[in-house]
Amino acid sequence: MAENENTTNDPIIICEDVHKWFDDFHVLKGITTTFKKGEKAVICGPSGSGKSTFIRTINHLEEHQRGTIIVDGIELSNDLRNINLIRQEVGMVFQQFNLFPHLTNLKNITLGPIQVRKMSKSAAEEAALALLERMDIADQAYKYPAEISGGQQQRVAIARALAMEPKIMLFDEPTSALDPEMISEVLDVMRELAHSGMTMLVVTHEMGFAREVADRIMFFDEGVVIEEAAPADFFDNPQHERTKLFISQTLQH
């Protein structure tokens, strides 16, 4: 257990009674929780439990209809300025990578810094190349996303999110669309990021990663958090029947 020396007691995300409906379907049924600066939280649960929807409400890709979400002291309201401010603080990595296919990998990364942060092109490119170096794919800078492997694409996507120098990183099943042999190269990068002190919310089925990196595991089912605990307690001493079933099923293979 990498007991995270980085975790502080300052809250950075505060969620209170967050509700969300898709038409008649009640996806999130009152989520109340606080994430601390530097915390690594792994969110798991069966599909359709609302775990992805939950992290997507944090940068307002999904709108919540009731309750409050405060990110780094900014409340997510209907204020367009707040939404844009929060999106600059929060980086996101998607299951399907969602790289921009019409731009080179380098330009995928520099787009945000140049357009949103108003960085100069040369400074942005320098920073982007450094990030690609950190992701161990500096030689792919001038290629297009379609020309590199899935694992490399996902690392470019992580670099794209990091280029905005976010305080929080959201990962929405970052390894689910990858071939098995590419999963580890992405998890390595995420592990390194965790050790650097980034606040991370990770939706994943990689229980090995969860056990190793997470400070807290949250188990979602039918729109509520039915159990949350440190990895040791969560895996070795689950309280809830639903959690026990889930763990026995995921650890079987």
Binding site: N59, L61, N84, R87, Q88, V90, G91, M92, F94, Q96, N98, L99, F100, P101, H102, L103, L111, G112, Q115, V116, E125, L129, Y142, Y144, A146, A157, R160, A161, M164
Partner: protein
Amino acid sequence: MMEDNSHKILSDKIPFYRDIRFLKVFFQILFVIGIILLTGFLYVNMLNGLSRQGIELGLNFLNSEAGFELSEGIDFEPSETYLKAFWVGIVNTIKISIIGIFCATVIGFFFGIARLSNNWLIRQIASVYVECFRNIPLLLQILFWYALTRVLPVVRESISFFNSIFINNRGVYFAFVERADGFNAWLWYLLSGSILAIFVVLGFAAFRYFFRFRELQQTARPSFISNITFGAKWAAAPIFLIVAIVGWFLTPEQPFAVTRPALQGFNFVGGMSFSPEFSALLIGLAVYTSAFIAEVVRSGIQAVVRGQREAARAVGLKESQVLRLVVIPQAIPIIVPPLTSQYLNLAKNSSLAIFIGFPDLFMVGETMINQTGQSIPVFAMIMVSYLIMSLTTSAFMNWYNRRITRVGK
């Protein structure tokens, strides 16, 4: 022995009527002969019919005096030839097509994007626009716009905007930039500017290529070509611009001047003008086609996967930037092929000009047929002209499409 025998039969010489190689060629030749016979028969039949009416087929009439006037287009006198009249028609068709395509594209993109707006009212207005104009016959729309131009005020009571645009029942008059006395002198500055720029860029590229090769290799892929494009952007373009601007001020007279229409006697003089016929046809074609283009644009934008917008938003881009930097560049390759069809439709639909008396290619051709009876040759000329224009348009659009889709693949 039996086995050997059967083997021998199979590898025997194939009779020609079963030989695939022979049959392939044979049927093609048969087909071509059939077509030649059929066209020959029709042609002879047509010649007989025409000679019974006392008409000799040929293109000689093109050099005879036309004897009719054309209401607009490049200068034309009734004493000039049919060929010249036909050329005036072609130029008019090209003019209405190009201006029409430009307007239809701008309006179409606007309404196509508006149909996807988050604003309910804008979305509804765009839907109503599209549904109205693409569901009313084009001819009806053109006649309607033409009827509207007939009830505009007389010249003396023109509707005027900013003293630069005047609208009356004789047409639309607006200020326009025209070549002035200093234009030719300025051209010399442009020429010398380009020559200077070419030398500078070659020198610049050679310098970077030979002397800074090692240093640049770290961050970019230097090639002579990339050095030239770099030099063109950072050295040649500025030099050319500076020479052009300096030249602008050094020439004794202005190279260009804005001329405004002014009332002189019974009409406006100066600037640029569109006749009521041209205006009605232009509005009709542009509005009708823009409704279709709006749908093409909308479906192209919707074809870009949702994840692209989400990723762009997650990076912090504003909605307008999401559209401009991420969605539209990916939608363009999807939009271009159906957009080309709409451009071709517009150019061909411009032949409806005949209903309001705008002298386009088709109307001039019809007049020629009425006067000479040379229906077949003139129809052939008209068809070939449209064909050439359409094929040129699609060739250009195909080239553009290849150019944009090559990136990112």
